[in-house]
């Protein structure tokens, strides 16, 4: 048993500088996650604003332009949340962007776009729930003080909503980080692919997979700590 583990450890990390697969893999995984998060946040905020603005209208005074964008947003949410992320990735790479060459840059771009669009759908609903959780009286107060709708949103509603949804957003970020492991299907060498390559070379399964599990866990724990700090900072002026 010990001997097996020792060989496993040697073959996984030391032989032929195999540890470099992990180092480079972490880089790709983090890069993909961070860029996808930015796209997801941007998309999510836009969609959430459209959806909540539409939903907060009075029944008899509905804006048709807003209604149109609301339908678009609804289609986006339905399609993206209704299909598996791996299928979306395969479609993006082999159908939509079939002409792309398999350079690392292209593959990262494809992964970032897919996960950004995917994540945006979930972020949109999280942020919308945050906006809807703010009492309607806040908007009324802002408007009656002479602030425009946009200013009330920007300076009153969103900051409070953001604080409310931070835990859910953190959750989404963690899911995103782990979900990037499916980029292996398009051949991108992320952390999971690194372990798979080592397994294919050496036929060692135990050590490489336990190793990447530990690395993912460590990354998530660091994220959780950072998010926890941020949450505490934002709650400093709360009277809870």
């Amino acid at each position: 048993m010990w001997k097996t583990l020792k060989t496993g450890f040697y073959q996984t990390f030391i032989l032929n500088n195999n540890y470099m697969y992990f180092v480079q893999g972490i880089g790709i995984t983090l890069l993909t996650t961070v860029l996808a998060l930015l796209i997801g946040l941007a998309l999510g905020i836009i969609v959430a604003l459209v959806r909540s603005a539409h939903d907060q209208q009075q029944a008899k005074h509905r804006n048709p332009v807003l209604g149109f964008f609301n339908v678009l947003a609804n289609i986006y949410l339905t399609v993206i949340r209704g299909t598996p992320a791996m299928v979306q990735l395969l479609i993006m790479w082999f159908v939509i962007w079939a002409s792309a060459r398999s350079t690392t840059q292209n593959m990262v771009m494809c992964a970032v776009m897919t996960f950004g669009i995917n994540s945006g759908a979930y972020v949109a609903e999280i942020i919308r729930s945050g906006i809807m959780s703010i009492d309607a009286g806040q908007m009324e107060a802002g408007r009656s003080l002479g602030l425009s709708y946009a200013t009330t949103m920007k300076c009153v509603i969103i900051p409070q909503a953001f604080k409310n949804v931070l835990p859910a957003l953190g959750n989404e970020l963690i899911t995103l980080l782990k979900e990037t492991s499916i980029v292996t299907v398009i051949g991108l060498k992320d952390l999971t692919k690194g372990a798979m390559i080592i397994q294919g070379k050496t036929y060692q399964a135990i050590v490489p997979f336990l190793a990447i599990a530990a690395i993912y866990l460590a990354m998530v724990m660091i994220l959780t700590t950072v998010l926890g700090r941020l949450e505490r900072r934002m709650r400093k002026n709360d009277q809870r």
């Binding site: 949340r81 792309a100 036929y203």
Partner: protein
């Protein structure tokens, strides 16, 4: 409510995978439990001595499963009793009694591929012939190529016959039987490609099937950053057709099939690497390896294996 629906759907995927994994583990554990029963009832040794032997061999038993505590206990006990049965009767151990369970990756024509819902091909037929020689029934399990050896090591399957090449690194973790066929790694390129020989591959993007020897050799020869590994050869060929990669390095026989069904592709005349295919067996299961080698020698002798090879590989 929407929010919860959204999240739960996303988690359902994870939960489903987990459920599947748990189900598989349960099946494995139960299979082993059943086995343990069979083993002790079929072995002539009295229960008490079998138990003591089991106890004595527990420490050496391969801790293949990292399942639940109960699961690993069951599997260890069964592995131990199996090992003792093997010692007393001089026989090999199998994942299921009377059944030779063969793992393969059925995306590799003509060595293994689906015809209807049945897996056929050179490896399937040779394994069938070996199983018949040994008086066993053959059961074929389809899985990812790079999971095969782990499955052999953990005893989920007895043998892996998937056009596997013997390499030094692999020999450290698994045993191979005698070779039954020679494989050649070739290069597929589009017909109008500027690649004329293997020497031109430097600096080009090379598509391969994940964890195959083509993958390993190309990574060593042309640099990791130029090699893109796909889950199946078919996906690599699709990438080649889309122009995502400049060429695909894969075994000759599947390559012929891919070129036959996809227009505008050709195989380079110069071969990349020549290698030996063999069946992988778990390291501690030498009795099974010896039995297969003996059966294979007989099958080579009477021309069965050559017949199977000729049936699938047409000499051009």
């Amino acid at each position: 409510m929407r929010l919860f629906e959204a999240k739960s759907r996303k988690y359902m995927i994870e939960v489903n995978i987990m459920k599947k994994a748990v189900a598989m583990m349960m099946t494995a554990a139960m299979g082993m439990a059943v086995l343990a029963g069979c083993g002790s009832s079929s072995s002539a040794a009295p229960a008490s001595s079998a138990a003591s032997e089991a106890a004595s061999t527990v420490s050496e038993a391969p801790a293949s499963s990292t399942v639940s505590e109960a699961g690993s206990a069951v599997s260890e006990a069964s592995a131990a009793s199996e090992a003792s049965a093997a010692e007393t009767t001089g026989e090999y151990k199998l994942a299921t009694d009377g059944v030779l369970t063969m793992g393969t990756n059925a995306t590799f024509p003509p060595y293994e591929y689906y015809e209807g819902d049945k897996i056929v091909g050179i490896d399937a037929e040779i394994s069938q012939a070996i199983a018949e020689k040994l008086g066993l029934t053959l059961e074929i399990v389809d899985m990812d190529f790079n999971s095969l050896v782990s499955a052999v090591q953990s005893g989920k399957i007895d043998i892996s016959a998937a056009g596997m090449t013997v390499t030094e690194d692999r020999l450290q973790n698994v045993d191979f039987t005698d070779s039954y066929s020679t494989g050649v790694q070739v290069v597929i390129v589009p017909e109008d490609s500027e690649i004329a020989s293997v020497d031109d591959l430097a600096g080009k993007l090379i598509g391969v099937q994940d964890a195959t020897t083509g993958h390993i050799y190309c990574s060593d020869d042309f640099g990791e950053e130029n090699v893109i590994a796909y889950n199946s050869g078919a996906m690599a060929v699709q990438a080649l057709k889309d122009g995502k990669v400049d060429c695909v390095v894969i075994d000759q026989e599947p390559a012929k099939n891919f070129v036959a069904v996809n227009e505008g592709l050709k195989i380079l005349d110069t071969e990349y690497v020549t290698e030996d295919y063999a069946i992988a067996v778990a390291k501690e299961n030498t009795a099974l390896k010896d039995a297969i080698n003996a059966a294979m020698a007989e099958l080579k002798e009477d021309g069965t294996i050559q017949g199977i090879l000729d049936k699938y590989i047409s000499a051009e």
